[in-house]
C-alpha cells in the first residue's frame, strides 16, 4: 500500500466520516482537552450537517434550503479541527498506522475513528434508470425537492421511516404520492403494529396511496417518468397492476459502510464490530454511529446496529473519550423519533424481546405502549401523539429501562399514574 510512503504530518486523531458521529467526536476530543492534531475526513462537499431535516423541513418551505450545519467554519477553526471536505479515505495501513486519501495524500494516526455511516441499500430493479433517487444526503434532498410540486406523481419504494416522512412532506407540497411496500404492513419490525396502524391511517386520510404486500415485477422509463409494474396480487383484493410516476424514491433501508474496515481486515458483523468501549478488533481503531455493531448493555450485551441520530452523537462522544485512553462503556438505551404531519413518534429501547405490551391511552391518535419481557422488566416504550406530547413519558420510561425497572402494569396502563412517581418508586 502506498499510504505509508506518502503519509505525512505528525500523528494525531483521525476521524473518517464527517457526519453526525464524526463531528461530535472531533468536538468531544477538544472538550476533553486533547491538544494534538484532529483531522476530520468527509466525502461530502458540505460542512458537517444534520440529516433528520432532509426528509422533513428541507423538503418544505419556500426559501432555498441550506444544510443545517452542526459546526460552521468558525467553530471548526476555533476548535482547531481540520475538516477535509470532498475527500474519501481509501485505505488503512494498520502496520504503519496511516490512512490513504482520495487526494493522493496520506495521514498518520495515533488513534483512528471510523464514523462512515450507512448508505441507502441499492435496489436492483431501479439500477441505471433516470428519475430514480435515494435520500441520504443534502444533495439527494435538493434533487428530490426540486422535482416535487403540486400534481407531481411520486412513487416511494419502501414504507420505512424515511419513505413515510418523505410521503408526508410531499403531500404537504400537494404531490400525488404512492408508497409501495413489499411486506404486509408499513414500518416492518421497527415499531409496534398499533403505531404503524395509526401512521398508516393518517397517511391514507392525507391522501397517500399505500400499497402493502406489493411486489414489483419490473420498472422501466416511460413517458418522461417511470412505469412500475406490480406482480398480480395474490389475494382477491384488486390492487393496481402498475404505477406511473414522474419521480421514484427508493427507501428500502440502509447498509453500513464497512468496505474500508473489511479491506483492513477488521472484524465486520452487520457493521464494523466494536466492544463496549467502541474499539474494533484493532485497539488503535474505533468505530461508532450507523456503521458499527456493538454490544447492547441493557440487553445482555447482544450485538446490534442502530441507525439513529442520538446514538451517533453519544457514540461519537464516547469514542473520543476512549481514544484518549478512557475506559467508559457504552450503556445508553436506544432512542429515536420520527415526525409525520403533526404526529410525533418516539421510541426508547428495543421491543423485540418483549412478551407483554401494556397500553396507556392519551387521546385520539395518541397513546403509549410499554413493552415488558417475561420477567416483567420494561425493555422498551413507544408512543405517538401530536407534536411532542408523548416525549416526557418516553424519556421517563427510558430511564426506567436503563434501571431494569419492573413497573406495575396496572399503573403503566393508567394515565392518572405519573411516570415520574413510578420512576422514583
Amino acid at each position: 500500500m502506498a499510504s505509508d510512503k506518502s503519509a505525512s504530518g505528525p500523528q494525531g486523531m483521525v476521524i473518517v466520516g464527517a457526519g453526525e458521529c464524526g463531528i461530535r467526536a472531533a468536538m468531544a476530543l477538544r472538550e476533553e482537552g486533547y491538544g494534538g492534531p484532529v483531522t476530520l475526513i468527509g466525502a461530502e462537499p458540505h460542512l458537517p450537517y444534520e440529516r433528520p431535516p432532509l426528509s422533513k423541513a428541507v423538503l418544505l418551505g419556500d426559501d432555498a434550503p441550506s444544510p443545517k450545519t452542526i459546526a460552521n467554519e468558525a467553530r471548526l477553526f476555533e476548535a482547531a479541527v481540520l475538516h477535509l471536505s470532498s475527500v474519501t479515505a481509501t485505505g488503512i495501513d494498520r502496520e504503519a498506522k496511516s490512512v490513504s486519501l482520495s487526494n493522493g495524500r496520506g495521514l498518520h494516526y495515533s488513534k483512528l475513528l471510523l464514523a462512515t455511516g450507512a448508505d441507502p441499500r441499492p435496489y436492483a430493479l431501479a439500477e441505471g434508470l433516470s428519475h430514480v433517487f435515494t435520500l441520504r444526503t443534502f444533495d439527494d434532498a435538493l434533487a428530490i425537492r426540486s422535482r416535487l410540486g403540486p400534481g407531481c406523481r411520486l412513487a416511494i419504494i419502501g414504507g420505512g421511516f424515511i419513505g413515510l416522512e418523505l410521503a408526508a412532506a410531499a403531500r404537504t407540497r400537494r404531490a400525488d404520492v404512492t408508497v409501495i411496500e413489499a411486506a404486509p404492513r408499513i414500518l416492518g419490525r421497527a415499531v409496534p403494529t398499533e403505531i404503524a396502524q395509526v401512521i398508516h391511517a393518517r397517511h391514507a386520510r392525507e391522501g397517500v396511496r399505500i400499497l402493502v404486500g406489493a411486489a414489483i415485477a419490473d420498472m422501466k422509463e416511460q413517458n418522461g417518468g417511470i412505469l412500475i409494474k406490480l406482480q398480480p396480487a395474490l389475494k382477491d383484493e384488486a390492487g393496481p397492476s402498475a404505477v406511473q410516476a414522474d419521480l421514484v424514491v427508493v427507501g428500502i433501508g440502509a447498509q453500513p459502510n464497512t468496505a474500508l474496515a473489511e479491506a483492513a481486515g477488521l472484524t465486520v458483523e452487520n457493521g464494523i464490530a466494536v466492544d463496549a468501549h467502541l474499539r474494533t478488533s484493532d485497539p488503535d481503531i474505533f468505530a461508532a454511529g450507523d456503521c458499527c455493531s456493538f454490544p447492547l448493555a441493557y440487553q445482555d450485551g447482544r450485538r446490534v446496529r442502530l441507525e439513529a441520530w442520538r446514538n451517533a452523537q453519544e457514540q461519537g462522544t464516547l469514542a473520543a473519550r476512549n481514544m484518549l485512553g478512557g475506559r467508559q462503556a457504552h450503556v445508553a438505551v436506544p432512542w429515536f423519533w420520527s415526525d409525520q404531519y403533526d404526529l410525533g413518534l418516539q421510541m426508547a429501547g428495543l421491543a423485540d424481546r418483549a412478551t407483554q405490551v401494556v397500553r396507556r391511552d392519551l387521546g385520539s391518535e395518541s397513546f403509549l405502549l410499554f413493552h415488558l419481557d417475561a420477567e416483567g422488566r420494561l425493555v422498551a416504550a413507544s408512543g405517538i401523539g401530536p407534536g411532542t406530547s408523548i416525549a416526557r413519558d418516553i424519556r421517563l420510561a427510558e430511564m426506567m429501562i436503563a434501571r431494569g425497572a419492573r413497573p406495575d402494569p396496572l399503573k403503566l396502563a393508567n394515565a392518572e399514574s405519573k411516570l415520574k412517581a413510578l420512576l422514583a418508586a
Binding site: 441520530w309 452523537q313 416526557r392 424519556r395 421517563l396
Partner: protein, 104 residues
C-alpha cells in the same frame, strides 16, 4: 425597563415541572424547581424552535422534548449537543400566590 407581568398562579406549576406562558406574541417557559423556586426562560428551544413546555425537568435541567437538548433553566446555559446556543432567562418573583415575570 418593562414592568412585571403576571404569568400564572404559583400552584399552576408542579414542583420540578414547567408550563407554557404566552404574552403579546411571545412565548415563555415557567419553571418550578425541586426546592420550590420559580424561573422563566424563552419558550422555544434554540435548536429547532420547539416549545420546551413538553420537556422533562430534572433538578436544574430542562430537557427539550424534541431531541433531548439540555439547558440549565436557572442560567439558560446550553449543556451540549445538539444545543449550543443558550436560552434567554427572565427575572421572576412570586407575590400573593402569583408568579410574575419581568419581560424586557
Amino acid at each position: 425597563m418593562a414592568g412585571w407581568i403576571e404569568a400564572c398562579g404559583a400552584d399552576d406549576v408542579d414542583e420540578e415541572d414547567v408550563i407554557r406562558f404566552d404574552h403579546e406574541g411571545r412565548t415563555f417557559a415557567i419553571y418550578r424547581s425541586p426546592d420550590d423556586e420559580y424561573f422563566a426562560t424563552d419558550g422555544l428551544c434554540t435548536h429547532e424552535k420547539i416549545h420546551l413546555a413538553d420537556g422533562l425537568v430534572m433538578d436544574d435541567i430542562i430537557e427539550c422534548p424534541k431531541h433531548n437538548g439540555r439547558f440549565n433553566y436557572k442560567t439558560g446555559q446550553a449543556k451540549g449537543a445538539p444545543v449550543c446556543v443558550n436560552l434567554k432567562t427572565y427575572p421572576v418573583k412570586v407575590e400573593g400566590g402569583q408568579v410574575f415575570v419581568q419581560i424586557d
